[in-house]
């Protein structure tokens, strides 16, 4: 993708609020022969004017910057956002979920190419399963993504992660692009990938992307168990996974575009256990299968009106076997299947030059089956309606929206949850007080809730069908600034800083029942979170060939349980007061070097802030070298990485050790075929 393409893409993706698809699939571009090191700078130059005008905090990682983050999966990349805690059980196959501003991972919705990845079973998305190689951009919106032509689902969470996969782009008259490569590294990582993009006509293109990941995952770790220092090898950490996706990207006329995507992922993995005294080995295994097909269509009906439609069907399977538990029918073997049907229609209308409105309606149908004892086979139907108004004036942008939710629950056996109706608001603005001063003030308020998941409601021996939704109230006040400079060492600079207050009520937690086997879920806790976060990004160049980019993020959070009867002033588990990251990358000609540092402060593994729950701060240094010649028809690139350079031994989750120093090498080959030739053959 050339610079121009990429920046155009990003521009559309973020800043044309009426555009949901956002991807100029078949746009033609000129060949650009500028030095590659300037790409990042140019991308940011185009991004900045609009980034600073966002009414909610937004963080974006895209293109080359994303590829440089010492990351295999999306999970590794989100660590560089402020306000984010990644829950990571360690290793390549370990579960990795995102927690934004201490609201809990179930309050975050994850969107893949604009459509939500649902998980009605437990409400969380394992970001470790999404390879960065296939991503064009990852962004995090607190509150919600601004815009009027968005599905109602986009308004239905406390924070959203948008993952945008690569789209076909044809340069220099190419008719087909191919990209093949392999990554290999420590712990037996072997990760070959292949993607091809084919131009099928003037208005149609296809992209196929596939990938295999295989790793033994055995890594050595050192830790103190009791008061002895022990070194051991992590067991049962193997993973095998396969992903294939195929997309069709069409443009009927200039004003219409559509996309259809089929996705399949399957994996088998060992589940490493907590490292406890006298017990390091584990035998639990898990198999996953996720398949979906989704389609999007957008049409600009007139200068004032646009329409967007989206739909999806997904089918997920999960199988869990525990050979350490023998039941009267053999090893414990749990199988879960779930289905989702999703349909969305949205229309937007420009009422006058500065006021636009959007209306959207979404329908979801979720079902789940399991071979669990006394499983009730639930079905949930959700209807969402959203109305949004957006004011856009030269120095003021404001958005207000209302979301209506109706949930109907049905079970085949036992007690079903009560049906639910609710109206929730959100309001946000961005205001530049002085035209001469490039400083913007923004604020948002949002009330939203998450429905109890099927596991919360119906999991045998812990589910509780009396549960109510868990509410999140968010207040945010921030400042942004962004500048492009024509000359000098610094070419772009943008910064944002926010303070926020979140309150979670009716938090769904597990509480003890009759005995330790019989926990139950209940609406119990209340949590208040006070935080501040800041981001600074800088890019520039020294001379003609040396370019650099710098990224800094810092987060302070005080997340206190305020449930009646709770011990006062106790930071909730796994939330550090201080966390942050720093990345610097430099390119000289075809060679690039980047370094990143991630810091997570001290935390507690359980409610009480006492010594026995204390978890050490951790910080890792990652270093990588890239070699990528200037864009040509054929291109070979090479990456060498050292992660956790100082070999720090740490846990993100107590007793789940993380890998120490590890290495990766990546090799990829990219080539094009000219359009004419393709036709002749």
């Amino acid at each position: 993708m050339t610079i121009r393409k990429l920046s155009w893409y990003l521009f559309i993706y973020f800043f044309v609020p009426t555009c949901q698809l956002g991807v100029p699939a078949l746009a033609q571009s000129d060949s650009l022969n500028q030095a590659r090191q300037l790409q990042e700078i140019q991308v940011r130059e185009r991004l900045l004017p609009e980034l600073k005008r966002s009414s909610v905090p937004v963080q974006v990682l895209s293109g080359q910057q994303l590829q440089r983050l010492h990351s295999l999966s999306v999970a590794d990349a989100v660590r560089f956002f402020s306000g984010v805690q990644l829950k990571d059980y360690g290793g390549i196959g370990g579960l990795k979920t995102i927690n934004v501003r201490s609201l809990g991972s179930s309050q975050v919705n994850v969107f893949y190419d604009g459509i939500q990845l649902g998980n009605m079973q437990n409400g969380q998305v394992d970001l470790g399963r999404f390879s960065l190689d296939n991503m064009e951009a990852i962004s995090l919106f607190n509150g919600q993504k601004p815009g009027v032509l968005l599905p109602a689902k986009a308004y239905a969470s406390a924070a959203s992660v948008y993952m945008e996969s690569r789209v076909p782009v044809f340069d220099n008259g190419a008719g087909a692009n191919y990209r093949a490569g392999v990554r290999a590294g420590s712990y037996g990582l072997f990760n070959p990938f292949f993607a091809t993009e084919q131009k099928i006509g003037r208005q149609l293109a296809a992209r196929i992307s596939t990938e295999l990941t295989n790793a033994g995952g055995h890594y050595t770790f050192r830790r103190r168990i009791g008061s002895t220092d022990t070194a051991a090898v992590r067991q049962n950490t193997d993973i095998w996974s396969f992903r294939a996706e195929a997309g069709l990207y069409g443009k009927i006329e200039e004003k219409q575009d559509w996309q259809v995507k089929a996705y399949h992922y399957r994996s088998e993995r060992g589940l490493p256990r907590a490292i406890v005294t006298n017990r390091f080995e584990a035998r639990q295994r898990q198999w996953d299968e996720n398949t979906f097909i989704q389609a999007k269509f957008r049409e600009k009906i007139s200068d004032k009106m646009s329409l967007a439609l989206a739909g999806k069907y997904s089918h997920d399977r999960l199988k869990y076997v525990d050979p350490e538990i023998t039941t009267d029918a053999g090893f414990l073997n749990n199988e879960f299947t779930s289905q989702e049907i999703y349909a969305s229609a949205t229309a937007s209308y420009l009422i006058c030059s500065f006021f636009e409105m959007g209306l959207s309606a979404d329908y979801l149908h979720n079902r789940m089956q399991a071979n669990l004892y006394r499983f009730p086979f639930p079905t949930r139907q959700t209807l969402l309606g959203a109305a949004v108004g957006r004011i856009k004036m030269p120095r003021l942008i404001g958005e207000i929206n209302l979301l209506a939710t109706a949930v109907d629950e049905h079970v085949r056996y036992y007690q079903q949850a009560t049906d639910f109706r609710k109206l929730t608001p959100s309001v946000s603005f961005n205001w530049q007080p002085l035209a001469v001063l490039p400083v913007h003030i923004r604020a948002f308020y949002k009330e939203i809730f998450r429905m109890p998941t099927f596991n919360d409601l119906y999991y045998t021996f812990s589910g509780n069908s009396f549960l109510r939704p868990e509410y999140a109230h968010q207040f945010d006040l921030g400042m942004t600034t962004a500048n492009n400079f024509k000359n000098g060492l610094v070419r772009t600079l943008d910064a944002q800083a926010d303070v926020y207050f979140n309150k979670i009520t009716d938090k769904i937690v597990a509480v003890p029942g009759q005995n330790l086997f019989r926990w139950s879920m209940t609406n119990l806790d209340q949590v208040e979170i006070r935080g501040a976060e800041a981001n600074v990004r800088l890019s520039g160049q020294v001379g003609n060939r040396l370019g650099y980019a710098l990224l800094f993020a810092y987060t302070y959070q005080e997340a206190i349980e305020t449930t009646a009867g709770a011990e006062p002033r106790q930071q909730i588990p796994y939330i550090p007061r201080h966390s942050g990251s720093f990345t610097v990358s430099a390119d000289y000609g075809p060679a690039g070097l980047s370094y990143s540092f991630v810091y997570t402060g001290e935390r507690y593994a359980q409610k009480a802030n006492i010594r026995s729950n204390y978890l050490q701060p951790w910080y890792t240094h990652d270093l990588s070298l890239h070699f990528q010649p200037a864009p040509k028809a054929r291109q070979l690139s090479l990456t060498l990485e050292v992660n956790n350079l100082l070999n720090q031994q740490y846990d993100v989750i107590k007793n789940f050790p993380m890998p120490g120093r590890n290495y990766r090498i990546g090799l990829s080959w990219q080539f094009q075929k000219q359009e004419r030739k393709t036709h002749e053959i």
Binding site: S227, R273, T277, N278, E324, T326, G330, V536, Y614, N655
Partner: protein, 382 residues
């Protein structure tokens, strides 16, 4: 200017990053002493309390209360065994036999044998998913959920016989699925089964093992999902059934070991029980599907007449719901009949230990580790 600010913040971050405290010096270090009420007893010098700790947290811990000084000391195992690998994950049972302390650590698949005077480790006996321990004739008997781990055709549990002199496993008997508590009457070992790995098909029996042949000789049908099993002075077994958490309520059954048959039952949920002289003290928690809450009860039985006494053993309203969040472990001081009750709270926070006089008045309370579960009294040594 902005750049300077970044550099400044960055250096601050690096400065904070540079300090990583030693794991033993986190907050709360040295807060391990608390006070009860000193008193002089003729036969007892103190008691040990085992905190289970949450699964995967590796937080089992042992506390000690000294009657003479009134001092409650936490983490005595760690301190007596510095340089060791810790007590481990989920301390499930604690017992004193002769001059040794036995701790069954379920999640760590081991039994720790300690010197009862110094709490120094004598030996570690590895036994997969071990649960409860009892003693007779110089032997220890330990139940384990699965006799063989990793064989899909072997859902049965086992009981292992350990020689308390050599501290090695001598014999092993196969019993029913997921054996829990066990007790010896005469030459017979009685083992309660839960069958908890197969909730659709709970076990409902007590196994009877002949100690000479160390073979199961019969089963006594009782009720689903059995747990506690205690013996009184009259050769009767008190066995608790946890019910199925849905339709079958928890109950307490009495088995006559003369006839090996159930002779009586009580409509009681049993979290823990202790039989002291002729009285069984019982605390129970029953989850109600109607209210979605736990109902807590404190009851007493006269084991001689096998009748329920119509009063609680706690006074001043301490037996009301919420005073003790989740009564979990219970023990009666055999000398002065003080009642010790632990509160496991929400299972994920440090618990509490309350000491009540025999009339039910609260004498003192201390904070414990997570999930305080089992109490064992230590006799004065001549």
């Amino acid at each position: 200017m902005k750049f300077k600010w970044t550099v400044c913040l960055l250096s601050m971050l690096l400065a904070t990053a540079a300090c990583r405290k030693d794991e033993d010096s986190g907050p709360g270090a040295g807060e391990d002493l608390q006070h009860g009420q000193p008193e002089t007893l003729t036969t007892l010098k103190g008691f040990l309390l085992l905190n289970e700790g949450n699964m995967n947290m590796n937080k089992a811990s042992l506390d000690y209360y000294d009657y003479t000084t009134g001092v409650y000391r936490s983490n005595v195992f760690e301190k007596a065994n510095a340089g060791g690998s810790g007590l481990g994950d989920v301390g499930n049972d604690l017992a004193v036999y002769g001059s040794k302390v036995y701790i069954v650590v379920n999640g760590s698949n081991k039994i720790e044998v300690l010197d009862a005077r110094t709490w120094k480790k004598i030996r570690q006996i590895n036994l997969d998913n071990c649960r409860y321990i009892t003693f007779s004739g110089g032997k220890a008997y330990v139940s384990a959920y699965l006799g063989v781990v990793g064989d899909p055709a072997a859902p049965q549990g086992s009981v292992s016989e350990i020689d308390t002199a050599s501290l090695t496993i001598m014999r092993r008997a196969t019993v029913g699925r997921q054996p829990e508590e066990l007790a010896v009457v005469g030459n017979r070992l009685y083992v309660a089964h839960s069958g908890g790995y197969s909730p659709s098909n709970y076990e409902r029996t007590v196994a009877v093992i002949d100690l000479t042949s160390f073979r199961e000789i019969k089963r006594i049908d009782v009720a689903v999902n059995l747990h506690r099993l205690r013996v009184d002075a009259y050769g009767d077994l008190y066995v608790s059934s946890r019910g199925d958490y849905y339709d079958i309520p928890p109950r307490l059954y009495v088995i006559d070991t003369g006839t090996d048959a159930v002779k009586k039952s009580f409509n009681l949920a049993v979290s823990d029980m202790d039989i002291s002289s002729d009285t069984a003290y019982i605390c129970g928690t029953a989850f109600s599907y109607q209210t979605g809450r736990n109902e807590i009860s404190y009851s007493m039985l006269d084991v001689r007449t096998e009748t329920q006494l119509q009063r609680s053993f706690l006074s001043d309203g301490m037996d009301r719901n919420g005073k003790i969040t989740l009564p979990y472990g219970l023990a009666i001081n055999p000398e002065n009949k003080d009642i010790l009750i632990t509160d496991a709270k929400d299972y994920v926070s440090p618990g509490k230990l309350h000491c009540f006089s025999k009339s039910g008045k609260l004498k003192w309370s201390v904070a414990t580790g997570d999930i305080p579960a089992k109490i064992e009294f230590l006799k004065k040594t001549p």
